[in-house]
């Protein structure tokens, strides 16, 4: 009688497949090469789709002339202030509404009735109120940042493990310290999810605000070259925005790793 044997196969191998760190950049590289090929073949006019090489060349020229620096500085200032104010207010009020029943009863209906309004729709009103200067742009960005952050902070606080609150109470921690030492760190991962969402919103509102009412800024630059049909320069602006978003996200991830070492 014949006897057989067979080795047991690891059937979850597909979940542990190693992927080279160059796979991601490789994907982007292939796309760019394909794009370049399409442009060089002459199928599409340079006016509609400029080649990556000419975008890069124009980009370097614009960098040398200082044009990008001027516009970037204006944009970074707006988004910096807007993001800082919006997220600080969002975290503060979110902690309050999450922790205090009174603040929750007053705050939540307000927050949830204002949240669904597309913030861009408020821009004309805000310009009317605050004028066409920097304040109105910073305000609109803060508003856009505020809502995802406040809602995430609130739900982060609501989901704090009740055991940890019991522990804090049994050591007679004061209310303020309870928020600072227990509620805030426990909610931090969820707060960061909100901060990352808000990063995207803040870029969107930055460009929208700059397109409506600004002389300087990446959004204004894109609109300007769009009007002049200078597509290559327009694309440089788009590329700058993409890089800005990427860097923004990287910074947030770095801060997150520093602030949440226990995850």
């Amino acid at each position: 009688m014949a006897l057989f044997q067979r080795e047991v196969q690891f059937r979850l191998a597909f979940m542990e497949r190693k992927v080279s760190r160059w796979t991601g950049p490789g994907g982007i590289a292939i796309l760019i090469v394909f794009w370049q090929a399409v442009c060089m073949s002459g199928w599409v006019s340079e006016l509609y789709l400029p080649a990556p090489t000419s975008i890069l060349k124009t980009g370097l020229e614009m960098m040398a002339s200082g044009e990008i620096a001027v516009n970037m500085q204006a944009s970074l200032q707006r988004i910096g202030w807007g993001y800082a104010i919006g997220s600080a207010a969002g975290i503060g009020i979110g902690l309050l509404t999450g922790f205090s029943k009174l603040a929750e009863a007053i705050g939540n209906p307000l927050i949830y009735s204002l949240y669904p309004i597309p913030k861009i729709a408020l821009l004309p009103l805000i310009i009317l109120w605050l004028g066409i200067g920097e304040v109105s742009k910073i305000t609109i960005i803060s508003l856009g940042v505020f809502f995802p952050v406040v809602i995430n902070t609130y739900s982060g606080v609501k989901n704090v493990d009740p055991l940890l609150l019991k522990v804090a109470v049994s050591y007679r921690t004061s209310r303020m310290n309870m928020i600072r030492k227990v509620v805030l760190p426990a909610a931090l991962p969820v707060i960061f999810a909100g901060l990352k969402l808000a990063a995207g919103t803040s870029l969107l509102l930055l460009v929208a605000a700059e397109m409506i009412a600004a002389k300087e800024g990446v959004g204004a630059m894109i609109l300007h070259y769009g009007d002049l049909m200078l597509t290559t320069k327009l694309m440089v602006g788009v590329l700058v925005l993409s890089l800005l978003g990427l860097v923004f996200n990287r910074i947030l991830e770095w801060v997150e790793r520093r602030l949440i070492p226990w995850k």
Binding site: S170, R172, K181, V182, P261, W262
Partner: protein, 258 residues
């Protein structure tokens, strides 16, 4: 320190809104330096009682009084939880120091006390570790150190070892007795494990199920240490069988109920 639990009752609103009595007219005292263990089937309200003694739940009726405080102040109650409840964002050291942070002690004194207690529970070398880097037994050691470091008047332990595997649990029970000898705090300890109760207790309080009432109180007439020795096994088993006899019907009922 002495704790008097005086005619304490607790009612919850049940799922259909009608009141459910979790505990009914419980009278019990924990004497100075006494180790009292509460045993009972699941759902008998033993954790509820413990939480009420710790001030984390309010009784519906009756009152709980701590007697023998040397000053006119609220008692310091040390709580050890089943799931430990270490803050995941704090290291072992900083978790143990949590209860001292708002005290009047100087930083040096705090550090010294933390160090002594880390040594006491055998966690030296793990001061800078995060809870997720520790085994279950080590986490509970940290939890015990965190509780003892504040020098509580009273120690409350809510099934502290029931999340541990059987071997670790046995070792931790021995360890707890060793640590307890060093402090001799009035202790209320909740467990559903009868052997554990007989191994640790000066006195065992058996609770019945729905409503939770004190069915019986047993003084354990065995030496404090080394109760698992062969010469005590007959007596040890007698206590276990006796308690099991008291609980068995309730435990079966609890099993049938989803």
């Amino acid at each position: 320190m002495r704790v008097a639990i005086d005619q304490v009752g607790k009612q919850y609103a049940g799922p259909d809104g009608s009141p459910v009595t979790a505990l009914d007219n419980v009278c019990l005292t924990i004497e100075q330096e006494e180790f009292v263990v509460l045993v009972g089937p699941s759902g008998c309200g033993k954790s509820t009682l413990l939480n009420m003694v710790g001030g984390l739940l309010a009784p519906t009726s009756g009152r709980i009084v701590v007697e023998g405080l040397t000053e006119d102040r609220d008692p310091t109650v040390g709580m050890v939880f089943q799931e430990v409840g270490l803050f995941p964002w704090r290291t072992v050291e900083s978790n143990i120091g949590f209860g001292l942070e708002e005290s009047a002690l100087s930083t040096e004194e705090q550090r010294e006390r933390i160090r002594r207690h880390i040594e006491l529970v055998g966690l030296s070398g793990f001061e800078k570790s995060y809870p997720h880097q520790l085994s279950g037994g080590m986490r509970q050691r940290a939890g015990i150190a965190r509780t003892l470091v504040i020098q509580p008047d009273l120690l409350l332990m809510d099934e502290p070892f029931s999340a541990l595997d059987a071997q670790t649990r046995t070792l931790m029970q021995e360890e707890l007795l060793r640590i307890w000898e060093a402090h001799r705090l009035s202790t209320l300890y909740v467990t559903h494990n009868i052997q554990e109760a007989v191994y640790l207790a000066d006195r065992i309080v058996v609770l019945s199920r729905r409503p939770g009432r004190v069915t019986s109180i047993l003084q354990i007439e065995l030496p404090r240490r080394g109760r698992d020795a062969v010469e005590h096994s007959a007596r040890f088993n007698f206590y276990c069988d006796h308690i099991w006899g008291l609980i068995r019907k309730d435990a079966e009922d609890a099993l049938r109920e989803v």
